[in-house]
Symmetry: C2
Subunit: 443 residues, 2 copies
Amino acid sequence: MLDQTHDPQLRSWITSANDPATDYPIQNLPFAVFRRAGSREAFRGGVAIGDQILDLAAARKAGAFSRALVGPAASRAASAASKPTLNDFMGAGRAASVALRRALSLGLRSDSESQSLLAPCLVAQNAAAYAVPARIGDYTDFYTSIHHALAVGRLFRPDHPLLPNYKWVPIGYHGRSSSIAISGLEFARPSGQIVAPAASGASTPVLGPSARLDYELEVGVYVGQGNELGSPIPIAHAEDAVFGLCLLNDWSARDIQAWEYQPLGPFLGKNFATTVSPWIVTLEALEPYRVPWTRPTEDPQPLAYLDSADVRSRGAIDLNLEVWLQTQAMRRHGVAPYRLSHSNFRHAYWSIAQLVAHHSVNGCNLQSGDLLGSGTQSDSVPSGAGSMLELSRNGAQPLRLPNGETRSFLQDGDTVIMRGWCERAGAVRIGLGEVSGQVGGSR
Amino acid sequence: MLDQTHDPQLRSWITSANDPATDYPIQNLPFAVFRRAGSREAFRGGVAIGDQILDLAAARKAGAFSRALVGPAASRAASAASKPTLNDFMGAGRAASVALRRALSLGLRSDSESQSLLAPCLVAQNAAAYAVPARIGDYTDFYTSIHHALAVGRLFRPDHPLLPNYKWVPIGYHGRSSSIAISGLEFARPSGQIVAPAASGASTPVLGPSARLDYELEVGVYVGQGNELGSPIPIAHAEDAVFGLCLLNDWSARDIQAWEYQPLGPFLGKNFATTVSPWIVTLEALEPYRVPWTRPTEDPQPLAYLDSADVRSRGAIDLNLEVWLQTQAMRRHGVAPYRLSHSNFRHAYWSIAQLVAHHSVNGCNLQSGDLLGSGTQSDSVPSGAGSMLELSRNGAQPLRLPNGETRSFLQDGDTVIMRGWCERAGAVRIGLGEVSGQVGGSR
């Protein structure tokens, strides 16, 4: 399945793309929508290459994607990928992104004849502002980390931490689309109904700012070509419905959530903000990092509609994930962000293909640009917890930061940064970049 | 607050609008998007009047909404209301719909001088096909009927039917936007993971068609002018964010839902189909049917952010609601639909303004065209139950239909029709029309 765009020997004429530490070598070629920071330009599609962005709209205008040069499929795909949202490009399916990736790979590699055409179309990433790359019709959040489900379950239901459906059903729920924002958001601490702990003697809720504000480390999955209402996507074709991956922070107000969530699930505890990283890394770029999806033999094996040889042999992705925190005091004193935890997406109990097949098995229609969240990705060890709820054991064991501060939950001014990347000896590093967000004060 | 458009003495030159039984007298003037059935015309905005639709795009082209004739506000509003979706019209706020309603009321009443301009712009309702009238960014479903919450709670948690948060929090969750369809949908019976009853000896789920397919009788509320992320809508301004009401059937697969919903709420048990009625009745048209919102004095009173003199004096709407069933056998033998239940929206435990204020109190942004569902509207008496789950007591007491058939849940070929209308002596009937849908076979 590896095509020439993954060849680890490839080098680009953009020298920063040849740095072994870059997230965006010529083998990656992720998509975003951007404009120059501070400008009022229209947002348009771009491709990351080293520390630069290839402006697809400008390159198209310059003739770099003429049919004569790149063929009709890549030319059409470049047109769709140049727009202010990538929905049309996503909807054109895997073939379109494969064709455009090939054209981009040829145009950006060292021996390219298009260098003079493309060089004027580069914008430095540090001079760019990004937007949410798709009109997200529906956002679904899953719960695929059994380590997270177990850790949270142990805090709130020590007798039966894992519910009986967990190992059978890829648990998910619908989230809020309108409050999904691009990395860099500073948002007000949400207020809501909160019931004071029983020890306080209070028995009725009050309206107030959340005191248990948290992050959740997740992988986001954008839907490419969707399905019609009533037509499930079989597991064998499920990955054809996937465009690519990003990082996602599902900010959560644990106190609001705890009081509201029975019986219909999280609502105001989650829908005040969700942040995503700007760059979408395609499944094609992640190809070298596919690994078997496994499940302990003593666990129930998936029902047939969630099982396939392909899932078993390469359903998971070896994707490193990290959470970093920089408090206001750290920022003031020039102290670098501190790493809170690290995990890996390969530990997910359900694979991406399984999420897609499950989501549509009842006929529910997925649409291009829809976003699926993986749910908090926690590792089996405490240092791999993907939320502060887990790290501080619901506040019972506050974290001690290197500068002497402590945290049970997030404080005003805290910036949370999540990073994700694939790397392995003999392969080229493929990065997802980062998603950051900052907690403002309460209103 | 009554303006001249509510005057019960008003008559229209369209005679069917003067029938006391019509849902669409000149006092109503609801909005939809439509085209001629069987045509490939573009969908555009229209207004119901008697058994006709005034084609807003055609009337605009004919000059009926020129600034000289109707003024700039109504002219702009007519332009926005002519489009294939009503989002721009909704986003223009209450002032826009008030202005357009006034112009329409003048143009359609008996003494109108615009009759010759408007008459060629009428399309018979029975010759029209409708579309979902807005691009619905987010769909939120609430749970505002305490009678429904109690009835369902008694079935599944007889010891504590009502959860402790119910009387404090307007419980809601995010539903699926992509599978919202206009009235008339025939959809495949959904499949999903189902655990056989314990008595069967089975202990593991199987994939299969839902055997407990149900409807839910709801009122839908479209958001007009929304709010920015981080800026809650105070209760005093909450109704300014509401465009109007429709009927909504939140189809539900009880067996899929029962197995999947812990801990994150309903998902595949709900998101295979939601149907809405075509006509959106504005709050202005419902003005004569506003009634006090009350709560038993022994119940907790709402927190300050959910309370206001306006809510107390006129927060509820006296809106009759009915569910009708026509089975395949009834249709074959020419038997008319049978009324399963009747209820009234005035019994809702939470008012529309409270839903809006609660939804945004954490800073969540509502957008024009967003849809809020009221949750199943059940009355306190058994004949007022808004779902078959309640009517058949989860299948324990099958319903006996007049033609001898029985129903515990919906069977293939069943058509469910919901109707809603306001009426009172001395006032003109204001109807919401109906929403219907039919259960197809399983795939």
